[in-house]
Every structure is written in structure tokens, then in C-alpha cells.
């Protein structure tokens, strides 16, 4: 019996790694894609040892959108599940002044991830099955002064995933949008995050695996963020613009 295959884009991220472990533990073979992919050799060995599944490494740069078609064509096998964990938060204060930095954040969270998802979507559509998982963020649910450059790009990615799902729902291809709140990863290292609202990457990975299995559309991690964002989205703009949040 051949093992199902999962592709992790942005595999060096804490969330991406946790997702790789989770799927490997479920018996999936794993493709890890990242910049400087060879630095993931120890992770490849680790996952192979722990779960006795094959792991391959693939060079991937989300910003090099012109390479994305060749990247997908070049995969030894088209995966059944593809998870995009690519993202870049940057620093809002920098992004406000340094437009090049801001553009990089916009492209890393929207253009790059959307581009690779688009290419994979076409291949999955042609094959007639598969699941695409995009890791976006609750930051895309409403622009806030402290985080809107990142947030707006995530908003774009969320809308893109929603459209993709709408387009592919009758073509056998499922799309999962993941909206994490706070997650304890290198992205948030050193920040003072409220423990009750902060997920461990493994928690997010469990949620993602369940969503893939049960064909969920939009998931929050932790679930409490669904309520929080419902509330935040519904604050009238006239009040919201004066709030510090």
C-alpha cells in the first residue's frame, strides 16, 4: 500500500514542522519545502526515525513566484495534501516607514503563498482530488494600527483561499483556511502573550489534521478566537478607530 503524501511549504517554521510530525505520525510520507532546504536534513532524519515514513527535501522560495510552476512540476510526486505555513511578520514600526520592508511583508504573506496555492490548485483540480491548507491569521480579520501591514496581506490570503474553495468545491478539491490567534513560535518569541489564548504549534497541527480529515473550511486555533474575532469584527468603525487594541 502506498502512503499518502503531504507537502509542507515553509517547513522550517514551527507550525510547519509540527504539521509535518503530525501527518507523519498518521502515516503520511512527507515533502518538506523551504529556502535552504538542506538545513532541514536533521529534521528529515528525525521524522524518518520516529515515524518510519520517507521524507524528501525541496528547495522553495515563496517570493520567487516565477519558479512555482516548475517547483510543482519538479516534485517527485504530486501530494494529496499541501500545507502552506509561509509567513513573515516583520515589525509594524519599520513597515510604516520602510516601504520596501512593508512590500516584502505583503508579498511574503499574500503574493507568494497565493501564487503557490494557485499552481497546486490547478494540478489538484486536474487530478480531481486533494486538500490545500493555507495558514493565514486572525490578524487578517480586521486591520489594527499595531499590525495592519501583515494583517492586510493575511486578509488578502484569506480571501484568496475562500475564493479558491468556492471555485474548487465541485471539483473534488478541498481548501482549509487556518486562522491561528497567538501561537508560541519563533515568530512570537519574546512577546508577552496571554497563556490562555496562546496555542502550542502541536495544538495547531492537531487542529489542522482534524480539519483535513473532516473537510472543515475555516478553522481557528485556539477555537476561542472565533468568538474573539466575531466580537472584534463587529465593533463599529467609529469606535474601533479610536481603540488601542
Amino acid at each position: 500500500m502506498t502512503k499518502p503524501l503531504v507537502l509542507i511549504l515553509g517547513a522550517r517554521s514551527d507550525i510547519g514542522k509540527a504539521v509535518a510530525h503530525k501527518f507523519a505520525s498518521l502515516g503520511y510520507a512527507v515533502q518538506l519545502a523551504a529556502r535552504n532546504a538542506s538545513t532541514l536534513d536533521p529534521d528529515k532524519a528525525d521524522i524518518e526515525l520516529r515515524y518510519a515514513v520517507p521524507v524528501t527535501l525541496h528547495e522553495f522560495d515563496a517570493l520567487a513566484t516565477e519558479t512555482h510552476e516548475a517547483f510543482v512540476m519538479g516534485l517527485p510526486k504530486l501530494p494529496m495534501v499541501a500545507v502552506c505555513a509561509v509567513g513573515l511578520m516583520g515589525q509594524q514600526a519599520v513597515n510604516e516607514r520602510d516601504i520596501a520592508a512593508a512590500v516584502r511583508v505583503m508579498r511574503s504573506n499574500y503574493e507568494g503563498p497565493a501564487s503557490i496555492m494557485a499552481v497546486l490548485a490547478n494540478s489538484f483540480e486536474e487530478r480531481g482530488n486533494g486538500t490545500l491548507v493555507g495558514v493565514s491569521s486572525v490578524a487578517g480579520e480586521r486591520g489594527r494600527a499595531t499590525n495592519y501591514v501583515y494583517g492586510s496581506a493575511k486578509a488578502g490570503f484569506t480571501a484568496f483561499l475562500s475564493g479558491l474553495r468556492n471555485r474548487l468545491s465541485k471539483r473534488g478539491v478541498h481548501v482549509v483556511t487556518v486562522l491561528p490567534g497567538f501561537v508560541a513560535t519563533q515568530m512570537t518569541e519574546g512577546m508577552d502573550l496571554p497563556a490562555k489564548l496562546t496555542a502550542d504549534p502541536r495544538e495547531v497541527a492537531d487542529t489542522i489534521a482534524r480539519a483535513v480529515e473532516r473537510k472543515k473550511d475555516v478553522i481557528y486555533a485556539r477555537p476561542v478566537w472565533r468568538m474573539i474575532m466575531l466580537f472584534i469584527r463587529n465593533i463599529p468603525e467609529s469606535i474601533f478607530k479610536r481603540m488601542k487594541i
Binding site: 536533521p42 529534521d43 532524519a45 528525525d46 526515525l49 520516529r50 515515524y51 518510519a52 519563533q186 518569541e189
Partner: protein, 441 residues
């Protein structure tokens, strides 16, 4: 951030770092004045805390290689024994030595040179370690083993993180045929019969006793001695069961809140202990028990350390030499019983021979007791310390949170040698924990 060991006492404000690479770790080693490594924080007291720099090893958690011919696993120091079991028990391998919780790292198991229920037969964790890669104060990584840099190897096993930061190790796993243990329970009405049961069971792979430390008079030392053997396929009811290595960890109960401190008063412990004893005494003969329930009964209750309330608890664990064990244990149990202090967990175990520079075990008996932290039990602990020293015993640093440097020295002639070794190798200034400062190591 606020940091404590598993006993939640003491709680210290400590700066923590979580390096993700050897280079990042080296930068810390070369720039911080003092630091200590931390594994999974299962030591009870302050061994894995340095207030100015505690180095968490959670990102050094990869397995590197496994040789099915020899059972040798090479892994980074932050890998948990539980991860090893999850990966390798389904393939027929189990740790050769494991403490009573699977949530310890390889680094922590080496640094405390932990013991399991098979110490009398297989020795401490040291016995399964082939080599260790450790970063010293100069940022260099040295591989040490019984043959290569043996002094460093000897002092790292049991060295409580004070000889450097363990990065990787090669350890041997034990081949097993099933995930089950054949357990035999012996009800021992008092200490003498418990010790007799241990002595009679020298050939058993595993042996441990749960001891009712509130029993007094003729009941002093009333125990359930539990022996265990890895079950073979032929021991299991059906061939099908043999293939099922895959007994998943039990569903977890968890203790979400601190219990109010009065919950575990003497009366409750007394009632519990009596019920437990009589329930155990009825389980005659042999039972099949799955690995998780057998080795790690407490792991089924995540966060059980909260039952002692907000102030935390202290564990007392000593080892007594064989000749003085009975007298020492009698005195310790009498004192505990007299104080009426409820130790929920009280464990007695026979230790076998041990040859090492600074590890805790010695041939004889070890007794472990838990107490909620309060003035009364702290005073009792001082008295227990004294009894231990008077009987030639010593203390387990992985459990200690309150002993004095003078007590440690009175109990263990090896202390000054260990300290001198650290000094001569230039390790003493950099590698320090709150415990090593308190104990002047």
C-alpha cells in the same frame, strides 16, 4: 519569568533562553556569566534553574540515528523518553532504564543519572549510555564515553548539569517482545517483610514498593511490593495481542486548578493508604499490566503536582547503605508517622551496586516521600536529613529543594572532589544552578 521545578517550590524569577542551534547556544555559553541547562523541568527543586540564564533545551529534540542490530539510539538531549517509547516500542524497543515519569529528557536523565525499578539488576541510566556530546565553558563540544575523556563522562552522569550542556547522546534500548508487563504484587505487613520480599526478588527485572508511611507500631513499613517482568508473546492471552505493541497512552486526566492546601491532610492520606493497601493485598498472583500504567501511573494525571496546593511540595529521597538500611528506614518511618504528615507518595526500592563519581544510588535501599511545603514538614525534613546522615545515607539532588550545603557534605564525601573537578576544568563559574549555589557545588 517565574520558574520552578516539578514540586513548584521554590519559585524563582529567572531569565530563560531557548536556543535553536548549536551556534546560538555557543553564543550564550560564551557571553553569559552563569547558566545551567534545563530539560523538561521534572526535577523537583531548583536543579534546573539559574536566575540569570536558564537554557531550555526543547529545540534540541531530534532523533539522529538508530541501529536495530545493537539497539543504539543517537538523539539530541531534549528528546523525551516518552517520544522514544512512542517511536520505538511499536518496533519492539523500550528504554533500558526509566524513571517514574516518561516526561524527562535524555539530558535530564543523564544529568541526574536517573534510576528505575530495575536498578538492583541493571544499574542507573549510566548503564545504557554509550557516549555523550557535551559543550563546555569554552563553547567546544567534546564527546565523552567510558573510553574517551572518561573523567568528563563520569562527572556528567549525576553531575546535575554542572559539567556543561549535553547536546547529544547515544543510548541503548532494550528489545522487548510485547508492550505488557507481568506484575506480581506481594502484600508485606511491615518493613521487615517488605525488605525480605526485595531480597528474595533479586532476580526480578523490576521491583518497587509502595509504602504506607503512616503505618505505626506493628504496621510500620506496611507495603505493597510490586515485581515486574516484560511479558513475552506466549504470556499474552492471544497471538493477536502480541502484535499490538501499540497501546496508546491513556486518556489524560488533568488537574486544572490548585487544590486547596487542606485537601491532602493526614486523615485523607491515612484512609487512602489503608484502602490502597487492602485493595492491593487482594490482587494475589500475577496480572498483565500495560507499559504506561506499570511504569508511569502518575503520568495519567497531567499536572498532578497541583494537588499539593499553591505552596508546592518537597520530596525527600535518600539512599541508605545495605547494612544500615533497616535501622535507618525504621527511624525515618517512625519519625514520619509520628509527625502524622501525609505523604501521598511513598516509595521504597532496593538499589544494586553503583560505581560512579557523583551519582545518587548506592547499594542498599532508597526511600522517597512527598510533603506539602509548610513549616511543619520543613522541620520534619530537617529531622529526616539528620537520621539519613546518621545512618550513612545520602540524598538525591534531583528531588532536593531545601537541603543545606553542610548537610550535603555531611552525607557525601564525594562532594568536595566533584567541586574540585569542576574548578580544575574551568566549569565551576559558568555552570551553576540555584541548587548548586545553595549547596556550594
Amino acid at each position: 519569568m517565574k520558574l520552578s521545578g516539578w514540586g513548584r517550590y521554590p519559585v524563582l524569577d529567572a531569565r530563560t533562553y531557548r536556543p535553536r542551534s548549536v551556534d546560538a547556544l555557543r553564543d550564550l555559553v560564551l557571553s553569559e556569566p552563569h547558566l545551567v541547562a534545563r530539560g523538561n523541568g521534572r526535577a523537583y527543586g531548583d536543579s534546573a534553574i539559574n536566575t540569570s540564564a536558564t537554557i531550555e533545551t526543547q529545540h534540541f529534540n531530534r532523533m539522529i540515528a538508530f541501529d536495530p542490530d545493537t539497539g543504539q539510539l543517537v538523539a539530541e538531549a531534549g528528546v523525551l523518553l516518552g517520544d522514544i517509547i512512542a517511536a520505538f516500542l511499536p518496533r519492539g524497543w523500550f528504554p533500558r532504564v526509566t524513571p517514574g515519569t516518561k516526561f524527562v529528557t535524555i539530558g535530564g536523565a543523564i544529568a541526574a543519572d536517573v534510576h528505575g525499578k530495575n536498578h538492583h539488576k541493571d544499574g542507573s541510566f549510566r548503564a545504557c549510555v554509550d557516549w555523550i556530546d557535551i559543550m563546555g565553558a569554552d563553547g567546544e563540544i567534546r564527546r565523552c564515553s567510558r573510553e574517551e575523556d572518561a573523567t568528563l563522562f563520569d562527572h556528567t552522569l549525576g553531575g546535575m548539569g554542572l559539567t556543561g550542556i549535553i547536546l547529544r547522546a547515544a543510548i541503548r534500548l532494550r528489545p522487548v517482545e510485547t508492550a505488557w508487563i507481568r506484575q506480581t504484587t506481594i502484600a508485606a505487613p511491615n518493613l521487615q517483610s517488605a525488605m525480605a520480599a526485595f531480597e528474595a526478588a533479586q532476580d526480578a527485572t523490576y521491583s518497587v514498593a509502595w509504602i504506607d508511611c503512616l503505618g505505626a507500631g506493628g504496621n510500620l513499613g506496611r507495603s505493597l511490593v510490586m515485581l515486574g517482568e516484560h511479558a513475552e508473546c506466549s504470556d499474552l492471552p492471544s497471538v493477536q495481542a502480541c502484535a499490538s505493541f501499540n497501546i496508546k497512552s491513556k486518556r489524560k486526566l488533568s488537574i486544572p486548578l490548585d487544590f486547596p492546601a487542606f485537601t491532602l491532610n493526614g486523615l485523607i492520606v491515612r484512609v487512602f493508604n489503608s484502602l490502597y493497601y487492602w485493595a492491593g493485598a487482594r490482587k494475589k498472583g500475577e496480572q498483565l499490566v500495560d507499559w504506561d500504567s506499570y511504569f508511569y501511573p502518575l503520568d495519567a494525571i497531567l499536572g498532578w503536582n497541583r494537588i499539593y496546593g499553591r505552596k508546592g511540595f518537597a520530596q525527600f529521597q535518600c539512599a541508605l547503605p545495605l547494612q544500615q538500611a533497616e535501622a535507618g528506614l525504621t527511624a525515618l518511618l517512625t519519625e514520619t508517622s509520628k509527625a502524622g504528615a501525609g505523604s501521598f507518595l511513598a516509595v521504597l526500592k532496593r538499589f544494586g551496586k553503583q560505581n560512579s563519581a557523583f551519582s545518587f544510588p548506592m547499594e542498599g535501599y532508597t526511600l522517597a516521600l512527598d510533603f506539602p511545603v509548610n513549616a511543619k514538614s520543613l522541620a520534619l525534613l530537617e529531622r529526616l536529613d539528620k537520621i539519613t546522615v546518621d545512618h550513612g545515607g545520602r540524598f538525591y539532588l534531583a528531588k532536593d529543594s531545601r537541603m543545606t550545603a553542610a548537610t550535603l557534605r555531611a552525607s557525601d564525601p564525594r562532594v568536595d572532589g566533584f567541586k574540585a573537578q569542576r574548578k580544575s576544568q574551568g566549569l565551576a563559574t559558568l555552570f551553576q544552578s540555584a541548587q548548586s549555589e545553595r549547596l556550594d557545588l
